[in-house]
C-alpha cells in the first residue's frame, strides 16, 4: 500500500478535476476534462507539429545552455583562481547579479533582435550566472596546500587547472551546471513567451492563450513539466556518474 501512496493524491486530483468539469457548469473551454488534455497532447504529437515545437525549444535551450554554461565555468575559474581577477571583476559580477534576470530581456531584444539570436542570448545569460557562481565558490574553497603541492611539482598554471582545480571543484561545478540547466529551461519558456513568435512550446502556449484553447495550454504545461523532470533526473544521473569516476 505504501508503495502506491504517492499516486493517491494525483489520482484524487484527476478525479476531482474530471468531476468538476463534467458535473458543474464550468465551461469546458475554461476547464477541459483531463482526457481532453491528454487527447490534445496525443493529437499534437501525431499531427499537430508539437514534436517540431519540442525540438525547436530543446535546440534553443541547448544552444543557450552550452554558450552560457561554458562561459560561466570559464568566468568562475578565472574568478576563483586569480586573485587579481576576483578583485577586478568580482565586484562587477556581483553587482550584475543584483539585477533581476528578466530585466535584460528588453535590452537583449534591442541588441540582438527578438528572433533566434535574442532568445539564445537571453538563455545563455540565464545559464551563465549559476555556473559562474558555483565554479567560483568551488575553486576558491580548494585548500591552499593544493597550490603549494602544485608549486613543488612545478605544475604549469594550465596543468594546475586541469589536474587539480577542475577535479577538485567538480562537485560544486556540477551543482552549478544543474542550476544552469534549470535556469536555461525557465529562460527558454520566458524568451518564447516574451520575444518574437517562433516555433516552440512557449509560442504554442501563447497561441493557445490567445485563441482561448485551454486544452492546448494545459497540454503544453504537462509537456514542459515532464521535460523539467527529465532534465533534473538526467543532471542528477550525470552528476553521480562523473563523481563516481572521480572517486576511483
Amino acid at each position: 500500500m505504501k508503495r502506491f501512496s504517492p499516486l493517491l493524491v494525483p489520482l484524487a486530483a484527476l478525479a476531482i478535476w474530471e468531476a468538476v468539469s463534467r458535473l458543474t457548469h464550468v465551461s469546458h473551454e475554461l476547464l477541459p476534462p483531463p482526457e481532453k488534455v491528454a487527447a490534445r497532447l496525443w493529437d499534437g504529437f501525431a499531427n499537430g507539429g508539437m514534436a517540431g515545437d519540442l525540438a525547436a525549444s530543446l535546440l534553443r535551450e541547448f544552444a543557450g545552455f552550452v554558450i552560457g554554461a561554458a562561459s560561466g565555468v570559464a568566468l568562475g575559474l578565472l574568478l576563483g583562481l586569480s586573485r587579481a581577477a576576483s578583485r577586478l571583476i568580482g565586484p562587477l559580477f556581483l553587482g550584475y547579479r543584483q539585477v533581476a534576470l528578466f530585466a535584460w530581456v528588453p535590452l537583449l531584444s534591442m541588441w540582438f533582435g527578438g528572433g533566434e539570436q535574442g532568445k539564445i542570448a537571453f538563455i545563455a545569460l540565464a545559464a551563465m550566472a549559476p555556473a559562474a557562481v558555483n565554479t567560483w565558490r568551488g575553486t576558491s574553497a580548494l585548500p591552499h596546500s593544493y597550490i603549494e603541492l602544485s608549486r613543488v611539482l612545478m605544475f604549469r598554471p594550465l596543468d594546475y587547472v586541469r589536474f587539480v582545480a577542475l577535479p577538485g571543484a567538480l562537485p560544486a561545478i556540477l551543482t552549478g551546471l544543474r542550476s544552469s540547466l534549470i535556469a536555461a529551461w525557465l529562460a527558454t519558456v520566458g524568451a518564447e513567451l516574451f520575444l518574437d513568435v517562433a516555433p516552440g512550446l512557449g509560442g504554442r502556449m501563447n497561441e493557445g492563450r490567445e485563441t482561448f484553447q485551454m486544452d492546448l495550454v494545459l497540454a503544453s504545461v504537462v509537456l514542459l513539466g515532464l521535460l523539467g523532470l527529465t532534465f533534473s533526473r538526467l543532471a542528477v544521473a550525470a552528476e553521480k556518474t562523473l563523481l563516481k569516476r572521480r572517486a576511483t
Partner: protein, 256 residues
Amino acid sequence: MKLHHGAVRVVAGIAVPLLLLGAWSLTAREGWLPDQILPAPGVVRATLKEFIASGELLDATLISLERVAKGFAAGAVTGLAFGAAIGLSPRLNRLFGPTFLGLAQVPLLAWMPVMILLVGIDEGLKVILIGIASFIPVVLNVAQGFRDVPPALREVGAVLLFDPWSMLTQIVLPAAVPSVFTGLREGLANAWQTVIAVELFASSEGLGYLMSWGRQLFQLDLVLAVVVVLGVIGFALNWGLARVEGRLGRWQVRPA
C-alpha cells in the same frame, strides 16, 4: 596596513566598472553605435533624474514592491505550513511530496498563460504567480530543515521526556531555523525575479512595465535607468537579508 589593503580592494573593484563607463561614454560621444542601441550615460542619468523628479519611478517601484510583498506573504505562509507538514509527517510526505516535486518541475512562467485564462491579467495574476514562485523554495527548504533535525537533539528531547509540543517548539523549530531562513530568502529572490517577468508580459504599471514601455518607444535610456534602479533594489534586498541572517545565526542551536 589594513586600511591600505582595503583601499586597494576598493580601487580594484571600481576600476573595471569605471573603465567600462569610460568606454561607454566614448562610444556614445564618437557615435559608434546608434542611440537606440546604446544611449549615452548622460542621457540615462538625465532620464533617471527626470523620472525620479516626476515621481513616476517611485510609483512604479512602490507598485512592484507591493506586489512582491503580497505574493511573497501568500507564498511564504502557505509554504511554511505545507513544508512543515510534509517535513514533520512521513505519511503526508509520501502522499503529497512526489506530486509537489512533479509540479515544481514546471517552469514558473508556463503557469502564466494558464493563469491568464483562469483569472485574467489583473492583480490576482501577479499575486498568484509571485506566490507560486516563493512557495516552491520555501516548501523545499522548510521540509528539508524539519526532516534534518539532528537525531542527537531529538534524543535529548526524549531523555527530558518532552511532550510533542515542547519537542516542536524547543527542539525542532530552533534546529530548523537556518533552513527556514534559506527558504524564505530564496523565495523572496524568486518573488522579485517574477514580478519583473510578469510585469514585462502583462501589466500596465510597475518597474517591469516601465521597461517594456521604454523598449516599445525605442527609449533604451529608460530601460537602462530601470536596470539601475533594479540593481539598487536587489542590492538593498540582499544586504537586508544578510543582516537578518547574521542576527539569526547568533542564537542558532548547534549540536555539539
